[in-house]
Symmetry: C2
Subunit: 143 residues, 2 copies
DNA sequence: CTCTGTTTTATAATCATTCTCATCCAGTAA
DNA sequence: TTACTGGATGAGAATGATTATAAAACAGAG
């Protein structure tokens, strides 16, 4: 996807971000990729248009875009491994901001409505669900 | 939680694992912690009982336990950041083994059944859900 | 008790991500 | 247009989590 510089400037200004060339290319690349890409993949793609861009710039801008809601983070979890001794079927409630994880019980998935969307061959016999939201503490924080 | 060496030996043997002292203490520590702990936290706790244990041993054993279903991984995602240009509300179907992420549409959360389990103050106004399972390719793999 | 293959340990290596800081550029005001 | 200023960028170092390596120790079988 390509935007005019004007279009991108408006998008960026809504978030209080300067509209730099690098930023525009990073943003366009992510949106055009139609997938769930890693910073490294974005970096590789962006370099075709901005050969001297730094990987740190890609990281910086991805973080900014996510923080300002222009992009979504696919893995809003604590960045390190977490392990759970409870292997009985249960689900998780995860705070998108502070990454705290709480267990929740309950059958709240409507399989009748879910299954039509699940591709053939995908095995949901023991689905584990993680529901994201904002915990009380993070919700009441000003920032 | 403590097990007799006999009990742990049976548990380990079911998975084809040798029942070492370190293994037993790591396992007991995770189960006793009743939470979602990082390897570093487990390591710190385990050292109270096995002062000379190596961090690598904790990692190795956590990985083995997860692979054999004795523990559950709380973050079964790709280990690196993934970014999504699609910020329209949608959910994800994630393969627990290969970590592939697919978008799914649909309102399949039964909020009537979910809300009683959500603690006061947790904000679900725009919940994002990730449903885990096994994709076709991984399901048909022998291993 | 001895043997064999696995596990552990200490340490080095790797990988993703962030930091540092000198340089550069976007946006503003003249 | 030009000059100014604070934020953005680039190169590379630093950090932190995790994995690999190889020698020593141990579990389980005979």
């Amino acid at each position: 996807m390509r935007l005019s510089h004007q279009q991108f400037r408006e998008l960026a200004w809504k978030c209080g971000l300067a509209a730099t060339h690098q930023r525009q290319v990073v943003y366009e690349t992510v949106v055009a990729s139609h997938g769930h890409r890693s910073p490294e993949q974005i970096y590789t793609a962006v370099r075709k248009r901005v050969p001297h861009i730094s990987l740190a710039t890609v990281y910086n801008n991805l973080r900014l875009f996510v923080e300002h809601g222009l992009l979504r983070e696919v893995t809003p979890h604590a960045s390190t491994l977490r392990v759970d001794g409870n292997i009985k079927p249960h689900h998780h409630l995860v705070c998108s901001r502070c990454k705290e994880v709480q267990d929740i019980e309950g059958d709240f998935i409507d399989f009748k409505r879910l299954s039509p969307h699940v591709p053939k061959g995908f095995d949901l016999t023991q689905p584990v669900v993680e529901v994201f939201g904002l915990c009380r503490r993070c919700r009441t924080k000003t920032s």
